[in-house]
């Protein structure tokens, strides 16, 4: 796994090559990301840190196919997503990306089960198969007993677990987590991080996470710092090294 603004290596799950992202604000052009390269291997847990406005969420949005770079290319499992049409990108997201948001973003009028089932509605699975997948995902996050509860009947930590179950239920290629513990107390945050670590270690999930919290970032395999659109690998945080 490599990162930064030089050339990356080939054969990774995610390959980002010289991407720029520029926003237009009135007459002014704002360079959010500049010539960024990144390689992430399957099963890695990568954290991105940096001050507000450094481009962390923008990078996550580009990796998740929610936005497109101004220049450069992003390849995920041999799919070059940079030039996909909006419709194709939507289909690609459904197959390859699991999203975990800071505010959980569950649908309040649906139960935990129904929330987790949502991504499966886009597949050809039967109702019985969907049920099986949802129950498995909720069991993984430890909420099988609460599947009929509505979000308002769950704590913040439990809501985030449901959101994680929703993210993993289709077995996507990788998970994108934008400040997953940002709205939680320390205890709940630790539980969520333990869960994410389990997903990485025991289930081989690839996770890319944005966080402001150094304690949370320390649990990742590698932490990158983004500063003014440039990616810098934090050698001090190469905790577990690259997976085998």
């Amino acid at each position: 796994m490599t990162g930064g603004n030089g050339n990356g290596k080939t054969g990774s799950l995610i390959q980002v090559r010289r991407i720029d992202k520029t926003y237009q604000r009135g007459q002014e052009e704002i360079d959010v990301l500049r010539g960024l390269n990144l390689d992430v291997n399957k099963g890695q847990f990568v954290a991105f840190m940096g001050p507000s406005g450094s481009g962390k969420t923008t990078l996550l949005n580009l990796l998740g196919g929610l936005d497109v770079p101004t220049r450069g290319s992003i390849t995920v499992a041999s799919d070059e997503i940079t030039h996909m049409s909006r419709g194709k990108l939507t289909e690609w997201r459904a197959r390859h990306v699991g999203f975990i948001f800071q505010m959980y973003n569950l649908i309040p009028v649906l139960t935990a089960f129904q929330n987790v089932e949502l991504p499966l509605l886009l597949t050809n699975l039967s109702k019985a198969e969907r049920k099986k997948h949802v129950e498995t995902a909720l069991t993984v996050v430890g909420l099988a007993q609460r599947m009929n509860h509505y979000p308002r009947q769950l704590s913040g930590g439990q809501e985030q677990r449901v959101a994680i179950a929703r993210a993993i239920v289709t077995d996507p290629s990788f998970l994108l987590a934008d400040e997953p513990t940002g709205d939680l107390d320390r205890k709940s945050a630790d539980e969520i991080m333990a869960l994410i670590r389990t997903l990485v270690k025991d289930h081989g999930k690839t996770v890319l996470m944005v966080t402001h919290d150094p304690m949370v970032a320390r649990q990742s395999d590698v932490t990158f710092h983004l500063d003014k659109g440039v990616l810098v690998e934090d050698a001090a945080h190469l905790v577990a090294g690259e997976p085998a």
Binding site: G64, L66, R95, F99, N105, I107, V109
Partner: protein, 383 residues
């Protein structure tokens, strides 16, 4: 349908708002059905008017009479199958609310000119031989519970001093035309002529002419009017449908009024529903963005918004039309003296449902397209 739980959950999210919006639809559709029924009732006469009949009336107005002596002259015009005459009796049965149209008829030619209004032969013969006899339409007979042999007193207030005339119900007629008028009450010309004061004798209200061929309508009507040009009683002859339409216009531009009210109601409904859907979509911007993020396509998101809007429209529409189906028969009875008979037809129900769906679709399409075009990144930033 695998998306149904999400659609229904969203629909039931704000119950008070749902009830108010569905209620608006129900009231609007009830009003639509009522107005459509009233319009249909007024147009019914023109709709069932025969293409091969002409009405010849006094050129000045319908309320001015024509001489009975015109009968022979009109009957001699080529191209006619038969001629008959009518007078408006306008009597009161018990009280003015019990209105029904009463006509003085010429029994000798009535059935030749109006063959679609069928009276069984034995009843007709009883009527012909009974000077005080009357034939009544099936609806009016049902309305008042009259049966053959009943004696009906009707107060005359138009012809001379106030007086009560008694009639024997000798027969009941039915119309062979769907939606044909079955509310009339016919009395004998001879009885009428005998009872009215001298000033009214020998005067008929109008002549109805049955043509050999419908395409001779123009030439025959010109021939009749030419015959009485420059006389004391000039005629105005027109087709039965034109006559029926001009009769309805006496009440004012009912059709125009109904169209304006209906349009305002639906436009208001469109604003109410459109606003409801716009608010619903705005409240759910974040949720829709999440759905898009996890792979729901723009079209599916549009479908969710449209489905919700159409469901509101269908529920409200069915409620309103159901309510009208229950209430209009009762309203028709209450308004029997003031309005023609009210019939809620399947066509009106279908049109109402179609109008509901149209309003639902239009109300949902703008916020739906907004949701469809929404950029996920921008929407997520707002959460």
């Amino acid at each position: 349908m695998k998306f149904s739980s999400l659609i229904f959950a969203n629909l039931l999210r704000k119950k008070a708002r749902l009830i108010l919006t569905v209620g608006s639809f129900a009231i609007a559709l009830f009003l639509f059905a009522f107005l459509a029924v009233v319009r249909a009732a007024f147009n019914q006469q023109a709709d069932v008017a025969s293409a091969d009949r002409l009405i010849s009336r006094n050129h000045i107005s319908l309320s001015e009479p024509l001489p009975l002596s015109y009968y022979e002259q009109i009957a001699r015009i080529p191209g006619l199958a038969a001629v008959t005459h009518f007078n408006w009796f306008g009597g009161i049965y018990q009280n003015e609310k019990n209105f029904f149209p009463q006509f003085v008829i010429d029994p000798e030619h009535q059935r030749q000119v109006m063959p679609e209004l069928v009276v069984p032969d034995d009843q007709w013969q009883n009527f012909v031989h009974d000077r005080q006899g009357a034939i009544v339409g099936a609806k009016t007979a049902k309305r008042f519970g009259w049966k053959i042999g009943d004696r009906i007193p009707i107060q005359n207030s138009r012809y001379g001093p106030l007086s009560t005339w008694d009639f024997n119900i000798d027969g009941i007629y039915h119309s062979q035309n769907p939606g044909g008028d079955e509310t009339q009450f016919w009395l004998q010309w001879d009885y009428f002529e005998e009872k009215v004061p001298q000033d009214f004798k020998g005067r008929v209200g109008w002549y109805t002419v049955k043509l050999d061929k419908p395409d001779s309508a123009l030439s025959v009507s010109n021939a009749i009017d030419s015959l009485f040009d420059n006389s004391a009683y000039e005629t105005k002859t027109e087709t039965e449908s034109a006559f029926a339409a001009s009769f309805v216009k006496q009440f004012g531009n009912i059709e125009g009024l109904i169209m304006i009210i209906g349009s305002v109601v639906f436009f208001t409904l469109l604003l109410v529903t459109g606003n409801t859907m716009a608010i619903a979509v705005r409240e759910r911007t974040g949720e829709l963005a999440v759905l898009k993020a996890i792979g729901f396509s723009d079209r599916t998101v549009l479908f969710f918004v449209l489905a919700e809007s159409l469901l509101i429209a269908v529920i409200g529409g069915v409620l309103g039309l159901g309510l009208s189906a229950l209430a209009i028969p009762g309203l028709g009875s209450t308004l029997a003296g003031m309005l023609p008979p009210l019939n809620l037809s399947a066509t009106i129900l279908a049109l109402g449902l179609l109008a509901s769906l149209l309003v639902g679709a239009v109300a949902g399409i703008v916020p739906g397209i907004g949701a469809m075009r929404m950029r996920v990144v921008t929407a997520l930033r707002r959460i």
